[in-house]
Symmetry: C2
Subunit: 326 residues, 2 copies
């Protein structure tokens, strides 16, 4: 099916939403801070404009983000307008994909890889987070920034930028943060919950993972394997694994951090994090995956032991091409 | 000895330095990113004003900060002006204290606890880092912000704020960060080195520590023990332990994180990190120590096994007093 997606400017997207009602906002499955923050900040702003609005997500909202989702009273209505936030591909809607893949009226996103599945698209690939774009919309709406909206926006920005740490952070990101702080966001508490709070199970699995990390090519590649067995042993669940993909790349000398994760259905999900100049996307692309230059993913259906056999030669090639092998 | 410290405004401090030459800048001992960043950013700015300038520190500059200190060519001269940066008390000059304690002409600092040992003081307790104050001075000096100065200032700010995570971060901090990014600071690389680079030894000891953490009082207290044996097993050294004291407090439900560290001389160094309302200082004070409300320390001379026996009842008392026992 071919579709024509019309690209909207920030102002046009705002005008479109101002003319609509009964708005259902969709976040991506396995929701993170940015999709949740974007969804609820936008919903609360539209609510303040006296519209009927609801947010749906295929998966449960992780515990640490419920302070955001609880800010909106659930409401039953027949949606007239479907908006997707931070959803680069309709597949990322998870179990909601079938129902909504052809009927998204507006997608608001910051992923340059957006596949243009929606009827209308507001895309700003320079935004560190979709929440930055939503902040721009709220300025046009002249939405009063209450505590809930501030928390939602700040959470989205800090979770997508690693608290202003990563290269997607811009001067504009900092200027928005300054404005959110001026408006009274409780940033220190949000950051404590987002970055400095670990469950006991997380501590256990992080310890086990660090203890059992494998190194290849003179320490240029570090591999973490999160098996079902390890999850059962440590009692860790999905939300305990949040951010664990970033762990291996942080080790001195490591250019490519690989996290293998055995899923319930036996498939192996690969998450690749690289340091410049290694391109994570091109490696994952070889196995049917994709992503960002420094963070990409793909999936294997073979046993976990065979995954590294297939993956390592391709990583080696990339290290060699970039003169990164010692 | 009584001394009169005159408090200078930002402009007065700049005028003072503009009228001086042969300037020696002192950082505090066991230097961190802020004292080093402040010292070298100021030194490079004064150098650009054609002054003779040098920086001294009682202790070696940690490896991860040498990219800052190497930006200034060493120079021999007879100091006419002594400036201390980020040094709240002349004792913090370490082994340089004796030589300089009575002759500091200007102290530039952001610690509200500054003991006013210098002849002149530029204090801004609202600044997240002394580097914020230095940035203000450089604006008055109209210093061109080259790569070295940008790196020094940004490093000081991010290390003192936990990359904009902690409550000392202000809207102004973010606005300065935006200006440093506009000026071209390589922030992603600096943050990678400061926050996302761990040695393999660090990963090993962190894994072992997490695996072996003990919990008390329904998970309200977490205890980490870093024994000499563990250090030898993992090959970790002092710099690998940097920040490890903060680990236990980050676990959900933990109000008091205790790190026991066996020193070479057999003494046990205790580091206590608490969440509000538990007062770390009052607990450590009972054992002859002290510190800040949320981070304090003390020392024991008994065997490591006996330390918890002495410490836990006092912590329990504090938890009970504050209604934090479940």
């Amino acid at each position: 099916m071919s579709r024509t997606t019309s690209e909207l400017s920030l102002k046009e997207a705002c005008e479109y939403l101002l003319g609509r009602d009964q708005i259902l906002i969709l976040t991506h499955a396995q929701p993170d801070g940015d999709t949740i923050g974007s969804g609820y900040a936008l919903a609360l702003a539209l609510k303040a404009l006296h519209k009927q609005v609801a947010v749906r997500c295929a998966d449960p909202i992780p515990h640490k983000f419920t302070f955001i989702s609880l800010s909106l009273e659930p409401e039953e209505f027949e949606p007239q307008t479907i908006v997707a936030v931070d959803v680069a591909d309709c597949k990322l809607l998870g179990s909601l994909c079938e129902e909504y893949k052809d009927v998204v009226d507006l997608c608001i996103d910051h992923h340059v890889s957006n596949v243009r599945y929606a009827k209308r698209l507001l895309l700003d690939a320079n935004a560190s987070a979709t929440c930055e774009i939503i902040y721009g919309m709220l300025k046009i709406f002249e939405t009063p920034l209450n505590r809930h909206i501030l928390s939602a926006l700040y959470t989205g920005i800090v979770t997508d930028t690693g608290c202003f740490k990563y290269s997607n952070t811009t001067a504009k990101t900092h200027r928005i943060a300054a404005e959110l702080i001026d408006a009274g966001v409780d940033y220190a508490e949000i950051n404590r919950v987002m970055f400095d709070t670990k469950s006991r199970e997380r501590v256990k699995i992080e310890g086990a993972v660090m203890d059992n990390m494998d190194f290849y090519f003179g320490g240029r590649v570090a591999v973490i394997a999160i098996t079902r067995k390890l999850l059962i042993q440590t009692g860790a669940n999905d939300s305990d694994l949040d951010g664990i993909n970033a762990l291996s790349r942080t080790i001195e000398g490591v250019m490519v951090g690989v996290t293998l994760r055995e899923k319930k259905d036996g498939k192996i999900k690969i998450s690749l994090r690289t340091n410049a100049p290694i391109d994570a996307t091109s490696i994952c692309h070889r196995f049917g995956g994709g992503g960002h230059p420094r963070a990409a993913g793909c999936e294997f259906t073979c046993p976990i032991e065979e995954v590294t056999e297939q993956l390592l030669p391709v990583i080696r090639e990339s290290l060699e091409e970039n003169g990164c092998l010692i």
